[in-house]
């Protein structure tokens, strides 16, 4: 039964055609996955379905919802439909909630303002919606503010708020991209539950194909403003070759290198890091936070070790200590004779480049080289970056290119160790694969050892020789990557592996 029918959506911004004659349907209780790279137009499609495109955009097409058809540029009808007919949730950067309003009030707000419910009644319904969305029952939602709850909890609250007026359709734009794997699983299960139990039709927009494949009933592939492929799951090579190809990327065989004897490079002995929570007032006692406890690891030359953990596990703290950007509170770091050059690549490619410097200037910085120095171009080429881009600025290049530039900057001084802090998490799915291959090539070419920090155990499997699992600041398991995957010991490891299993379908 068709719940939503979109016909002929076209959007033009200025002189540019952004979306071209898009049509799609969503059935009752169906989860439709919309996948595509950055710039493909998928977010714009999601917004068009809610009437939230910028004012100056030219829109054409129609939308049929509950047997009523409206034009897509009909702002008035959309103002009525939003919330009541179609709900929308998106990625949760910290600012998605009004900092002055409690979580509970956010959920109750629509009920008070649009359904004209009395406050106490609205609050009761809001509490129920939050419970259904899995928001922890022991947190007093009306007494907690957005900055006081975690990302996963905020996402659940956002879902509760979106469904408060019982819409039939939910548009979810990258709802789990910023979340840990286990939290992500919880949110996906919740969405599946809403689809199965309440007949909610969901359009799930993401660049992460494996995630979609686990939950969607149908997949749509977008490229350059058009839907180019569509398929039911499971994917078959004949009906959806492009989708199948992309899907296969996540199942690529791990990069294996011959395990010959390597010289030791770095050893840490019982590294620990404690902080004082300075947000407390003078007379109050400050809490001591143990970010890292008893971290002992060793690293050989040319070895790639993955450090896997969820947020709060201490992996970023460890990265900073190993890079000497921060000092350990306890323990010591011992380098092999004459070694010790460390460089780092960060999660957000654009943020790791000075926006007013050219790419060439940024790459040349570690050696104080001018942008036109031959070594700068050489480093760029090593990182697979076209030297013609060296005169551009960060906002003029793509995320993948920016990350290559960051890598070029990191390797220009031929470091002994390269620390990569979530280097591919912010990148498009297809680009991730390219960057991981690049890193392996660089290891083979220059013999650089790498510590690959990530919450994505899939990526860790692809690239690393050995793996260390961190939980609450401690190492809970470590060993050869292949062995850990075939026989995990610790509960956390098992949970991480299970949560990112691409084969298992999400159950409600």
């Amino acid at each position: 039964m068709t719940a939503l029918d979109l016909k002929g959506l076209s959007v033009t911004l200025g002189s540019r055609s952004v979306l071209d004659d898009l049509s799609l349907t969503i059935n009752k209780g169906e989860i439709v996955g919309l996948v595509g790279a950055s710039g493909s137009g998928k977010s714009m499609t999601a917004r068009a379905l809610c009437g939230l495109l910028p004012h100056h955009a030219k829109i054409s097409g129609t939308l049929t919802l509950n047997s009523k058809t409206i034009a897509l540029d009909d702002a008035e009808s959309f103002a009525d439909i939003r919330g009541r007919g179609i709900g929308l949730i998106f990625q949760d950067p910290a600012g998605i909630f009004n900092p002055l309003m409690s979580i509970g009030d956010h959920v109750a707000e629509a009920l008070v303002r649009r359904s004209r419910l009395a406050r106490p009644h609205a609050r009761e319904k809001a509490r129920n919606a939050l419970d259904r969305a899995g928001f922890p029952k022991d947190i007093p939602a009306f007494d907690r503010y957005p900055h006081e709850v975690s990302g996963g909890q905020r996402q659940r609250a956002m879902i509760a708020a979106a469904l408060a007026l019982s819409p039939k359709i939910l548009i979810a734009d990258e709802p789990t991209t910023a979340l840990d794997v286990t939290t992500e699983n919880g949110i996906l299960a919740l969405l599946k539950q809403c689809a199965d139990e309440d007949g909610l039709g969901i359009l799930l927009v993401s660049h992460d194909l494996p995630v979609l494949a686990r939950i969607a009933d149908r997949l749509l592939l977008m490229k350059e403003g058009r839907i180019v492929e569509s398929s039911m799951l499971p994917l078959s090579n004949d009906t959806a070759p492009e989708l199948a190809r992309l899907y296969a990327l996540s199942h690529k065989a791990p990069i294996h290198t011959a395990h010959d004897r390597r010289a030791p490079l770095l050893q840490t002995k019982s590294i620990g890091k404690t902080y004082r929570d300075k947000s407390k007032f003078l007379f109050g006692s400050s809490d001591t936070i143990h970010a890292l406890k008893n971290i002992s690891l060793f690293l050989s030359e040319s070895e790639i070790v993955a450090v896997v953990g969820e947020s709060g596990s201490g992996k970023s703290t460890l990265a900073r200590i190993l890079a000497d950007l921060d000092r350990a509170s306890q323990g010591e770091m011992i380098w092999a004779e004459g070694k010790g050059r460390v460089q780092m690549v960060f999660q957000d490619p654009a943020g790791s480049l000075n926006p007013r410097w050219t790419i060439g200037q940024s790459i040349g910085e570690p050696l104080s080289l001018p942008a036109d120095h031959p070594r700068v171009a050489e480093a760029a080429r090593d990182a697979g970056l076209d030297p013609a881009l060296l005169t551009r600025y960060p906002h003029q290049i793509s995320g993948g290119q920016a990350q290559r530039a960051a890598i070029a900057r990191a390797i220009i001084r031929r470091p002994d160790l390269l620390i990569l802090d979530e280097p591919v998490s912010a990148l498009d799915f297809e680009i991730r694969d390219q960057i991981l291959s690049l890193l392996e090539r660089l290891r083979a070419m220059h013999g650089i050892a790498m510590i690959f920090i990530t919450h994505d155990i899939r990526a860790a499997r692809r690239l690393s020789d050995r793996m260390i699992i961190l939980d609450k600041g401690e190492i809970v398991e470590s060993g050869m990557t292949a062995e850990i995957f075939s026989a995990p010991h610790h509960a956390v490891t098992k949970a991480l592996i299970a949560a990112s299993s691409s084969e298992e379908r999400v159950r409600s």
Partner: protein, 277 residues
């Protein structure tokens, strides 16, 4: 900052300096026009006295020019003090740990309690009236203005990853401040400088009106307003002209400050038309 804008700013600054220099040279030349000559009192606008004369026989046009020199001198001195101390303070506060930056910000808040007038009253006993008192009094209040602005602009930059990358490249904090932070906040600082020049001219006028600013025989727009007050019925132009001069010059500086500020903080969000994953 792109080249075209940088050239414009340098050009504008040069014009200003040239203008100020011309004024400085013109001042002694116009001394005769500031003499009290009762026989020339209250003459209307004519070809010899382009804006007429005041009740003391002084040529109003020459007084306006002289007042311009006084205003610019005081405002510039105040900006040099304010920015010279405030900008480094703000940058240090932005780069520091919790304790130091809190202390600097508290100090800032404290100085904010001393508007130029109060400071001028207090130091009048030491320095008397004059350019020094006015410049110092306004300058002291400028310090927290600059410190606060620069702190706000620089603070979010220190946590960015490219700063960490610069540290890994071996640069120390001062080098990072010079090569990364400063260029990124320079347009904010320049905008504030222009703004404070305008506000400084306003403040100087107020101080001169009550006698705490520049002293005769050096002309001052504020004092001209004071002297013109009793004559607003007979010769309203004597009150209108200096005020117009003040308003025009303040408007010029604040307008430039606005344009620089727009550049420094482009809210070009309407132009972001392509989505990212």
């Amino acid at each position: 900052m792109n080249r075209a804008l940088r050239k414009k700013i340098m050009g504008g600054a040069l014009v200003l300096i040239f203008l100020y220099g011309a004024l400085a040279i013109a001042m002694p030349l116009m001394e005769s026009a500031y003499q009290i000559r009762i026989d020339l009192r209250l003459m209307p606008i004519s070809s010899t006295h382009w804006l007429g004369t005041d009740q003391f026989g002084r040529d109003t046009f020459a007084m306006v020019i002289g007042g311009c020199f006084a205003s610019l001198s005081v405002a510039a001195m105040a900006v040099v003090i304010g920015a010279g101390i405030g900008v480094p303070l703000g940058l240090i506060a932005s780069a520091s740990d919790h304790v130091l930056s809190r202390s600097i910000l508290s100090l800032n808040d404290f100085i904010f309690a001393f508007p130029a007038l109060v400071t001028a009253i207090l130091i009048h006993n030491i320095f008397g009236s004059g350019i020094i008192t006015a410049g110092l009094a306004i300058g002291i209040f400028n310090i927290p203005v600059f410190a606060r602005t620069l702190y706000g602009a620089a603070r979010p930059l220190w946590t960015k990853d490219f700063i960490k990358a610069a540290r890994l490249a071996g640069k120390n904090t001062i080098s990072i401040a010079a090569t990364h932070i400063l260029p990124l906040v320079s347009s904010v600082a320049l905008a504030q400088i222009s703004m404070q020049m305008g506000l400084g001219i306003l403040a100087e006028a107020g101080l001169s009106y009550v006698g705490l600013g520049v002293v005769p025989p050096m002309p001052s727009w504020g004092r001209m307003l004071n002297e013109a007050q009793t004559l607003i019925v007979i010769a309203p132009r004597l009150a209108i002209i200096p005020g117009l001069a003040i308003a025009a010059s303040v408007f010029l500086f604040t307008w430039i400050g606005d344009k620089l500020s727009d550049y420094a903080d482009p809210k070009r969000r309407e132009g972001h038309d392509h989505d990212r994953a």
